[in-house]
């Protein structure tokens, strides 16, 4: 037997593909797959959620509230009054299928949210930021509009789907919380139509209750003009239509519908009380 020395041959065990090309192909391909899956899920979940009847929804979520809902004390003056305003507004929505509940959450971002089962959550910053009952009534009316169009279910589905895709893509729990927050902002940015429809219903309810729509958009004007201009303003904008556009559209709508643009406004009792009334 004869030993013939040979040098090892290159390129047998190592693929001749540049690592960056491999990375690019993988990232691009997987992004396309994820997007297609996400969009499909999006519509599937929306269809599924909207096929749930209002009665079933109310039954399912009757006493449900988000886990992180830190509500203020039950005898908070603001809560009692806001609930009363809400009750009067709901009276103008013929046969509203929901038993509306209102909770106040401690937060330094002015915001209001609609949750399944007829739960409306408003932040303390919003309650302290509104200057009259009429301003608050419009915000509540807007949330009622979301319930009427069942946007709260759509939002829930979208946020869940985008959050899920995020977790799958990053593979970490850490990505999940961030994913849900980005999802929340992202889905609202392409739900402009829903926001407008909710505004329209809100304004209609306010007009029915007060006989005019004065002060409905003053809160947004102030957000825009500077009283409240700060990082809070940015935070509010990220989840709602631009305040300036919104207030303009509302004025046009009120004018078209022939709703009176001015009238007596009602002061809120808790205005000028720096801290919630202590017993």
């Amino acid at each position: 037997m004869k030993f013939i020395p040979r040098k090892p041959r290159e390129g047998i065990n190592v693929s001749d593909v540049h690592p960056l090309a491999e990375a690019g192909a993988l990232v691009a391909g997987l992004s396309i797959i994820f997007t297609v899956v996400a969009v499909a899920l999006f519509y599937a979940v929306e269809l599924a959620l909207l096929s749930i009847s209002v009665e079933t929804e109310v039954q399912l979520f009757e006493n449900w509230a988000p886990d992180d809902l830190l509500s203020v004390s039950a005898d908070d003056e603001r809560k009692t009054q806001a609930q009363e305003i809400l009750r009067r507004l709901v009276a103008h929505w013929g046969d509203a299928p929901y038993q509306f509940r209102l909770e106040i959450v401690e937060s330094d971002v002015p915001n209001a949210m609609a949750y399944p089962g007829g739960l409306i959550v408003v932040t303390t910053e919003l309650l302290d930021g509104v200057a009259s009952e009429n301003e608050l009534a419009f915000v509540l009316g807007h949330e009622l509009g979301h319930f009427r169009n069942r946007d709260h279910l759509r939002m829930l589905g979208r946020v869940a789907v985008i959050g899920l895709v995020f977790v799958a893509a990053t593979g970490t729990d850490g990505g999940a919380a961030l994913g849900v927050r980005i999802a929340d902002i992202a889905q609202r940015s392409f739900s402009r139509g829903q926001e407008s429809a909710a505004d329209e219903f809100g304004l209609q309810v306010v007009n029915a209750e007060y006989g005019h729509v004065d002060h409905s958009w003053n809160f947004f004007d102030r957000l825009n003009d500077g009283d409240l201009r700060s990082s809070k303003f940015i935070a509010y904008l990220s989840t709602h239509p631009s305040a300036a556009d919104r207030s303009d559209r509302l004025k046009v709508l009120a004018h078209d519908q022939g709703w009176p643009l001015s009238g007596p406004t009602i002061q809120l009792n808790w205005i000028n009380i720096s801290s919630p009334a202590d017993p």
Binding site: P5, K7, N13, P19, E22, L26, L30, L178
Partner: protein
């Protein structure tokens, strides 16, 4: 915004650094391997178990060479993505190729420095070194062990 940057920007930055540093190290390692293979050219390291009848063996001993090589972050992430859809993990191939050849080289160099003339019955073993990540399921690196019987021919 800062969160998005930390969650996505930082890993991408680390990946790029890992890619450039890792590629450089890999390139230099391959060059080194090729030079040493050149130097050992003609020294038999073969896998047969039975000696040819005409070989007159003087002394024998066990020789071995092992190497532990770690993945870089770039390879790890790309392999993770590959793991979602399957297929050849091309970024791992050069890693294992380097490790195999390095282990064989160390074994052969050890035999040559001890005055042997050949290594027969060469075998390769692979083991994975676990690290504490993902409850011990993470991979810190791989070890490749090459061993065989060194002979001096009389």
């Amino acid at each position: 915004m800062i969160e998005i940057l930390l969650n996505f920007g930082l890993p991408i930055l680390i990946m790029l650094i890992a890619f450039f540093v890792g590629s450089r190290i890999e390139k230099r390692h391959f060059e080194d391997i090729q030079n040493r293979e050149e130097a050992l050219h003609g020294f038999p390291a073969v896998s047969f178990e039975k000696l040819p009848a005409d070989w007159k063996v003087g002394s024998v001993d066990l020789v071995s060479g092992s190497v532990v090589i770690s993945l870089d972050y770039f390879k790890r992430i790309i392999a993770g993505l590959r793991g979602l859809i399957g297929g050849r993990i091309k970024t791992y191939e050069p890693l294992l190729e380097r490790a195999r050849r390095e282990a064989l080289l160390r074994m052969t160099e050890s035999a040559k420095s001890q005055g042997f003339d050949a290594v027969v019955n060469v075998r390769l073993e692979t083991s994975r070194l676990a690290n504490s990540a993902r409850n011990g399921k993470g991979t810190a690196g791989i070890e490749i062990l090459a061993f065989g019987t060194a002979l001096s021919l009389s």
